[in-house]
């Protein structure tokens, strides 16, 4: 997948020849998203032995303008899963609201299904149940399936939601789950995943640590977080539409922890001095 959301829905240059962007500037009445407007860049995620780590920076760009710098692109679902959004921010907000409603509907069903004998334990205030699947609610794998259908239906009606989405959590066998779906409804899973620029810059790094499911199952949480932080730094160095403030989510069986004010520490721009056109030129 191309790193620029603007290129996602277009015919591939290598197949169809260069795309004539002047088609985008007609004065036709618009009925659907024909191009993303405010966009978020990469989302990256990697599995480890007890769950999944996901990260995305807090930037929403308007073309090349760093427009909004406090945008949270990782969203929890039912306190058992995390959804990360790349691409158009308004479509992300639509999906976020949609998922809120889905979670409410899910809670209706759970309340009807709560078997009488094990009625809500005393002092239980939030629904952070210990096992994410035994409560019969939608797990990450169910949610991903649902989002896939939603995205595919929208592409079928030529009204796509201009996003690439990562879903992290657990599957019905209580194993860590990580999968992706994009604006065409293409869905896939892998021990590590990245959208946008991350697919080119972060994915090779993450694959060094988790090339296979077995490798991922040996990673500790600390190692996984470290890899993800390292990738975020590389992305900030090389992706012009990125920010050094980001959100980091860790999903485990105990629930979802999202910290939305992470900062990239120990940046070193020494490498930039040797590259012409990168930063201030002294020559």
């Amino acid at each position: 997948m191309d790193h620029r959301p603007q290129a996602w829905g277009r015919p591939r240059d290598d197949v169809y020849g260069p795309y004539d962007a002047s088609y985008l500037h007609t004065s036709m009445p618009k009925t659907a998203t024909q191009s993303p407007i405010v966009t978020g860049t990469s989302v990256i995620a990697i599995k480890f032995k007890d769950g999944v780590v996901m990260a995305a920076d807090n930037l929403a760009s308007y073309g090349s303008l760093a427009r909004f710098t406090d945008v949270k692109r990782l969203r929890p679902f039912l306190s058992t899963s995390v959804v990360g959004f790349g691409g158009d921010v308004s479509d992300m907000q639509f999906l976020d609201r949609h998922l809120t409603e889905l979670a409410i509907d899910e809670a209706y069903e759970a309340e009807g299904c709560s078997a009488g004998d094990v009625s809500s334990s005393p002092s239980s205030t939030s629904s952070s149940d210990s096992s994410p699947n035994k409560n019969g609610q939608l797990n990450a794998s169910n949610l991903h399936k649902y989002l896939t259908k939603l995205m595919y239906r929208r592409r079928n009606s030529f009204d796509p939601l201009w996003n690439q989405i990562l879903v992290a959590g657990f599957d019905s066998a209580s194993q860590p789950f990580l999968a992706s779906v994009d604006l065409r409804g293409t869905a896939f899973t892998s021990p590590s995943l990245a959208t946008g620029y991350g697919a080119m810059l972060a994915q090779p790094i993450m694959r060094k640590y988790a090339a296979t499911e077995e490798d991922a199952a040996r990673l500790t949480r600390e190692e996984a977080v470290k890899v993800v932080r390292e990738c975020m730094k590389v992305l900030f160095y090389r992706d012009a539409r990125s920010l050094d403030r980001f959100s980091l989510a860790v999903v485990t069986k105990d629930g979802v922890e999202i910290s939305e004010d992470e900062v990239l520490e120990e940046q070193s721009w020494a490498f930039a001095e040797r590259i012409r056109g990168y930063g201030t030129q002294t020559v």
Partner: protein, 264 residues
Amino acid sequence: MFRNNYDNDSVTFSPQGRIFQVEYAAEAVKQGSVVVGIASKTHVVLVAIKRNAEELSSYQKKLFPIDEHVGIAIAGLTSDARVLSNFMKQQCLGHRLTYGRSMPVRTLVDMIGSKAQINTQHYGKRPYGVGLLVAGVDDHGPHLFEFQPSGMTEEMVAFAIGARSQMARTYLEKHLDKFAECDREELIRHGLRALKESLVQDRELTVDNTSVGIAGAADKAGKVEPFKVYDGQEVAAWIESVADDKEAAPAGGSGEGETMEVDP
């Protein structure tokens, strides 16, 4: 022509706040042959008596699989049951396609409940003339629900509907405490014994007139026993195991009650 002025349609309350058309529909359920359902901690079973219109005709089906984890037993108008059955099948299939999981049984039952309720509130519609026992397994384990023409749906430990089902219910109430711990085979035997209670004098359970359906909740390996209906020779051994066992009731000495009951 009518019993009173208030039973012409399902949108008229009687002065006592009753809706006679719905109550009459519930009578249609009692016209159907008896079906019994029981749930344990691990399994849920449906057993039914099939009728044949005449000696040479085939037997009316009573148990229907809905999805791999759900099945129903019907009593009343079979054609109404088919409408509901098809609806449930579609819903289960759709849910599986959308979420990649089996539909929670209560959700499914609530859907037909809502569907049936509409028919009791609008002129020109009639209530469904069928009662169902819905048996299924989901993440919460095995479930048994009763569905009535009024749209009422309730989760039961065990239940029986259909003609002369009161006798079966009496049997079930008497053995209520044992069901939770029953294994698969014991549960089926309890079902068949309850069924026998409701038989007309000098009728017997035979391989021709008995159906058994069973589903099992996920075992330790996460494997679910899909709902399956057993007919004909497949049920022979079970019928045999409850044949004339008035004394040979399972451990717990439940046999003594049997002689107390008198068919009215």
